[in-house]
């Protein structure tokens, strides 16, 4: 066992796994575990098949920027839509989604059809698939390049397996406390996260050289978060002013 190679592989792939976990957790909390697991497991199956069929040349066979751009664009489309809806709900321009009512309506619909339904949301499954597939692909690249350059592929694989186990355990531990967060807050945060990942990946695919690589995701997320909160405050103030002027005109 080459401990330096295992360590390098552990650190490199742990970053990628944490990014994938963030997206899977986001889908799990908003669309349910079935949807999140379907997308994530499907991505793992496709990745394993790719590695088994193509093997080492995968590093040269796949055009990573193209995959990054497509996945980034899809994440942007879904994430920004969620963020937009959450901002509209915070400001009162859109009714807050009543999860209980929606569930009862869906149950009635399913009873009417006489079927149980799969309970899998296509949108959410695609998002989880994209996140796990892209991060998994990047992890495969890290393991192959680190392992082959030091002639110790087994050590690199072990490093990444340990990283994967630790990240999955962290995900299981964080799931319950996150489920207590109110729905619109969760969708707002998920919208910010997906938009940030989407911006980063789409930018990478287009050739943008991000400062500090993956750390830039935190800066982008911070910008989206602060800008969204300021925009919510501005919209709320505008709405309040409008309602006050309407009340004054009615009373006079």
């Amino acid at each position: 066992m080459n401990w330096y190679v295992a360590g390098a592989s552990f650190l490199g792939t742990a970053v990628e796994f944490v990014e994938a976990l963030t997206i899977v957790l986001a889908v799990l909390l908003t669309k349910g575990w079935k949807t999140a697991m379907t997308g994530a497991l499907l991505a793992v199956v496709v990745l394993v098949a790719l590695v088994l069929i193509v093997g080492y040349p995968l590093v040269h066979a796949v055009q990573l920027p193209v995959v990054q751009f497509i996945v980034g664009l899809l994440m942007l489309l879904f994430g920004m839509r969620w963020l937009r809806k959450a901002i509209l709900r915070y400001t009162g321009y859109k009714a807050v989604h009543d999860e209980g009512k929606a569930f009862a309506e869906e149950l009635e619909k399913q009873k009417g059809r006489g079927s149980k339904g799969s309970g899998i949301d296509g949108f959410g499954a695609l998002t989880a698939f994209n996140g796990v597939f892209l991060e998994g692909l990047e992890s495969v690249f890290i393991v192959i390049t680190v392992g082959l350059s030091a002639h110790s592929l087994v050590s690199a694989v072990w490093g990444s397996v340990v990283a994967l186990i630790l990240v999955v355990l962290a995900g299981v531990a964080f799931r319950s406390p996150l489920q207590a967060v109110p729905e619109n807050t969760l969708k707002f945060v998920v919208g910010v996260l997906l938009s940030s990942f989407g911006t980063f990946w789409a930018g990478e695919g287009l050739g943008v050289a991000w400062l500090d690589q993956d750390v830039s995701i935190l800066f982008v997320a911070g910008f989206f978060l602060v800008a969204s909160l300021l925009y919510v405050a501005w919209l709320r103030a505008g709405r309040r002013k409008l309602m006050m002027s309407e009340t004054q005109s009615v009373s006079s």
Partner: protein, 67 residues
């Protein structure tokens, strides 16, 4: 097929948001092609993307106020 339907639905639902995303990505591509791959591409990309959300929301708000 379903994925294409979903994407077409997205564009139909919110053309300003999708249009804003496309413009932001095009600007970033032009900047990287002209040799500005660092801050000069990063900042306009992020700002234009958030601008597209603001544009889409402001249109929705204006629609609600008119109604």
């Amino acid at each position: 097929m379903k994925a294409i339907k979903v994407l077409v639905g997205l564009i139909y639902d919110d053309p300003w948001l999708v249009g804003g995303i496309v413009v932001a990505l095009l600007v970033a591509k032009v900047l990287t092609l002209s040799g500005h791959a660092h801050f000069a591409a990063m900042i306009p990309l992020v700002v234009l993307l958030f601008g597209s959300i603001m544009l889409s929301i402001s249109r929705e708000v204006a629609k609600k106020r008119r109604a």
